[in-house]
Assembly symmetry: C2
Homo-oligomer: 638 residues x 2
């Protein structure tokens, strides 16, 4: 076992067997993208690859055994993440079919719908997930599409009342889907019961639009050429009453509505909560793509030389301070986020296997999933972009892969809703005592429920981890400025303390809206919106460092654990440096102490530089699957 | 005249007539990109458009009248910038042919080469600019290609000795160029005289490679599909002696080398200095692309609503604080950079029209050109990216244009060399007393020449502008913490003082390398590299604020000037906020004062929000040419 192997084992986490098998089997499928294919050719190609996946077991992983699946939610997410290491179009296509569409059928449907699942796994039934509309993306509760029950015929009438009600950016909708899981306002007996999901056939066996259905093609995009995104609008399309996915809301033959959850808002968020796996897969897949890009840039930095003394060999890019500053903190973040993502997947897996999942844990998972999705997808965009620039003009050529990743990864920051809205969702969970009951993310709904006291929010949760508390308690100095910034307990305490302060002060600002009229309440919320969103961000920073710390504690190889500790310190210093003005302005770091951050960080670069190749190998993207032509070039001196 | 018209006039600057004419004439040419074209189709399409440009006068603008041009360098750059508002592939293609290739012939050649210029203008002779090699991009002085004089035949033998000597990423090289301006080490009588430029025919009249020449296609890239980038390698290719562009270095029939500039390094940088227009065009064009993206995102923010009170109309995106925070500071930077770019173009124009340009001014222009290129192209990448995210999934569709801009603009950050190297070049100019004589950008060459004193570097230059000095002198408070951060003089003084301090301390660190051996000198340089690069960045921040201030002083409309002042303040606050930890840690802002920055910035957003449409219109990108389908959608309430 090399040190890189040990790192890879630590990063692979609980579903290591899935990763190892995927590395071999997916490499055999030859998933490289051919940029010469035209748009339809690229879509056909990806669809053909999708069929090849059926045999790998990944499609079946996420469904319950009683429905014909493997009942392994962790495997399902891990499998999707591994696809992302190979091709993001294929990852999205798989995610749409088995994760979003199949997930809606499994989680929102009942027995009569579950019978479809074997056909969904086998691609005998190809569907799409018709949630987003032109006019409503992040705000799903306000979708305009309606499904009105007609007791005469015992049908729902699905309708798009306006242009902005058109479903848009829907993967599989332009070509391959024959059926859609359509999110629409359920109306019966003249009353709306909020958003529900309906199965609506959209294409006949010849691929023609069904009567009343109009599909359109979103055509070219910034990337993801293998995914056929499209639009769907409905002109009074009739579907049988049974096509309502009725686990959380049912309409009987006579049009009477019933639901196990009375409150419309709570029902809606419960439904969305069952679909959490999609959000977790998006963040994890983006992270996987960033691992590919950083692997390419890291290897290139160890190969390419530039400038140097007239009388000697030119200097490796990896040996320049600026190059290290651009590359190594991103690699450290990659490690940190991988530990956090693995922890999240394990928690999700446990909850989803449970017959009676803990409501508090489910709520916490939803908050983290939203926040991690935002932070991981931004990290991926930034890492792929920086990797491109770190490879210069060569990074811009499709044959070196990064530019393809860059086009493909871009949309991940707005998948599942705008990342700022994702962080606002985390903040809502942190700031409101009754997040699940809060009707929506609209500002007024939110400020109304801000808890009167949030002072214990961080400490309560941190207490769950004895390890973290022990480290914090053992930190040197005990509260004065002499804390060693290289000490993990000190770092953990800084992150925790910052979170506590940011949340408390945000809550205090929002509490002023209590009793205010609508306009004034909006004004108060809006003035604080950047502060509110910051709550989500600093919260994620903390849980990531905690997950990293916990991950190191689980690492059994001492040398690997030592190296991981140095990486974690670089991560922590990098986060502190990014927010240094806050730590200074709030007297968490004296000016003198703050000035050490940059030099400590630079020292950390020196420590990690000799391990660059090892760190990159630890990401576990086999060199042969990187698909970057320039890594195969002869060495300059060859 | 509307307020927007007045803003546009202020931003259009001295070559307003060129901008106005381009807005009309280029719109008539229908330069929209068809994403359905395959790669060869896209290249043909762009090449056909290039031919349409000949009649506009833009191609002739940059060449001297005596060579058949218009002798209007400012028009040449402005014309290229306007192309960038329409299509970046066309801009690059035009820049390669008339700017880089034509510019090399004009500026490095003599009479016998200048005779070619009318054919270059007319596209009768299509060339490429073969500088970058696989192994050497930013470090042009170390190119490996050789041109060895053979007195027997009176020819140069052009040769690529290694794989890494292959010319790469060369625009026009894959298809359209028949001739290349090749940068190679000139060797005669066994001695190398450094990099010179040679005209080398690369294709015959049938488009076949000339004997000894091997071209290859770089094929797909992250964008710029209309540009045929390719590779060229030379296997002992013979060209007549006269094909040396011999203005700065000549070889006589017998192989004797002569040059008006003795020092090899100085000669090299003088030659590069004559090609400055390319660098200025790259920054200006990136800025133009960012204006398009921000115009689209700004208009979308005024159209799209999301979330809102259950009982009322949903809120416009533009009314959310977070949305304003993401969009308005980028718009303010766009304004700031446009004033700085216009100032730079005017200075370049003046120098290039002069028979005897001032050496100090030329040197300063070169430093600024490198620095502005870095800052403007990063700004463009960031603005296009943020605009994409501000438009959500819709921003990812090609039909809404931003995603195409995003793919195209990406490479600008490494055009002309990596942006960090560009900033290092500025730093070199600031830190060394004899920048022009310094052999190169290699660390040792640089530290050797660090001036023993740089203390007056900022003040000396600032003194050139009486207006700036007057504002600084008139600032309130006179040095204590009560400075009003909204006061321009205070802002200018903060920027100037920061630059002075950063440069001084960097110089002091580098001076330690005096007398050190190579390894130790490299270590000292490398430890300080991030600090050195920061010199370039803070220098550009200062000159941009000064240029903005000067631009406002020239604005004749009072209302427009008032609005521009608010925009300039947002720019200044945004720069200060980004570097707040520095201002605090170096006692330029007390903790209390620093805490006001964010709220002052937010107040500025409130002030500017009502002017969002006006500010966007001020960029002068006609709505009809934005090419974003969703701006034509019916309003949500329609």
């Amino acid at each position: 076992m090399t040190l890189a192997d040990e790192l890879r084992i630590a990063l692979d986490g609980k579903w290591r067997h899935v990763r190892e098998e995927s590395r071999t089997r997916l490499a055999e499928l030859d998933l490289a993208v051919d940029p010469d294919l035209d748009l339809e050719g690229a879509r056909d190609h990806t669809f053909a690859q999708l069929k090849d996946l059926v045999q790998t077991g990944i499609p079946a992983a996420g469904f319950r055994e009683s429905h014909g699946g493997l009942g392994d939610p962790g495997m399902a997410v891990t499998g999707i993440e591994m696809l992302a290491q190979f091709d993001l179009s294929l990852m999205v296509k798989a995610g749409v079919q088995w994760g979003l569409f199949g997930g809606a059928v499994e989680n929102l449907g009942t027995d009569r719908h579950h019978a479809l699942i074997p056909r969904i796994i086998d691609l005998d039934l190809v569907g799409c997930f018709a949630m987003t509309e032109i006019g409503h993306g992040s705000d799903v509760q306000s979708l305009e599409t309606t499904a009105t029950y007609d007791p005469q015929t015992q049908e729902f009438v699905v309708h798009s009342p306006t242009h902005s009600a058109t479903k848009d950016y829907i993967g599989n909708a332009a070509r391959h889907a024959s059926i859609a899981a359509v999110f629409a306002q359920l109306v019966t007996r003249g009353e709306s019961h909020g958003v529900h999901c309906f199965l609506v056939p959209i294409r006949d066996e010849h691929g023609e639009d069904m009567p009343g259905v109009t599909t359109a093609d979103d055509h070219h995009k910034g990337g993801l050429r293998g995914v056929d995104n499209g639009r769907i609008s409905f002109d009074e399309v009739r579907i049988p009453r049974e096509n309502l996915l009725n686990r959380y809301g049912n309409v009987d033959e006579n049009g009477a509505y019933s639901s196990p959850i009375d409150d419309t808002g709570k029902r809606f968020f419960t439904m969305l909560g069952t679909l959490i796996r999609g959000r977790i897969s998006v963040g994890g897949s983006a992270l996987a793509a960033s691992e590919v890009a950083l692997s390419i840039a890291g290897r290139y930095a160890l190969k390419r030389r530039q400038f140097g003394p007239a009388d000697g060999e030119e200097t490796l890019l990896a040996d320049y301070r600026m190059h290290q500053r651009r590359l190594l903190p991103l690699i450290a973040r990659g490690y940190a986020y991988r530990f956090a993502q693995n922890q999240q997947v394990a928690r999700m897996d446990k909850l989803q296997r449970s017959d009676n999942p803990d409501a508090q844990q489910q709520r916490e998972l939803e908050g983290r999933a939203a926040g991690l999705k935002a932070i991981l997808t931004w990290h991926a965009s930034r890492s792929v972009q920086e990797s491109r620039e770190l490879c210069g003009g060569a990074g811009y050529l499709a044959e070196n892969r990064i530019s393809t990743l860059r086009g493909d990864i871009d949309v991940f920051t707005t998948f599942e809703g705008d990342n700022h809205v994702m962080l606002q969702l985390v903040a809502k969970e942190l700031l409101t005592a009754y997040a699940h009951e809060v009707g929506g993310l609209d500002p007024l709904g939110m400020v109304k429920f801000v808890a009167s006291t949030v002072t214990d929010v961080v400490r309560e949760r941190t207490a769950a981890s004895q390890l973290i508390q022990r480290l914090i308690d053992a930190r040197p100095g005990g509260g004065d400025d002499d804390h060693d910034l290289l000490d993990r307990g000190t770092q953990l305490e800084l992150f925790e303390d910052r979170e506590q302060h940011v949340i408390e002060t945000a809550a205090r600002r929002l509490q002023r809206a209590a009793g205010a009229d609508s306009a004034e309440a909006f004004r108060i919320f809006n003035n604080a919106q950047d502060h509110v969103i910051r709550c989500g961000r600093v919260h994620i920073d903390r849980i990531v460092l905690e997950a990293f710390t916990a991950g190191i504690a689980r690492c059994e190889d001492e040398d690997a654990a030592d190296l991981l500790r140095e990486v974690a310190t670089l991560y922590a210093l990098s986060v502190i440096e990014d927010d240094l003005a806050w730590f200074m302005g709030h007297n968490r770091l004296s000016d003198a102490r703050a000035k050490t951050v940059t030099s400590l960080l630079n020292d950390q670069l020196d420590k990690l530089r000799p391990h660059l190749l090892t760190l990159v190998e630890g990401f576990g993207v086999p060199e042969a699957t990187l698909g970057a032509a320039f890594l195969l070039d002869p060495q300059p001196d060859a």
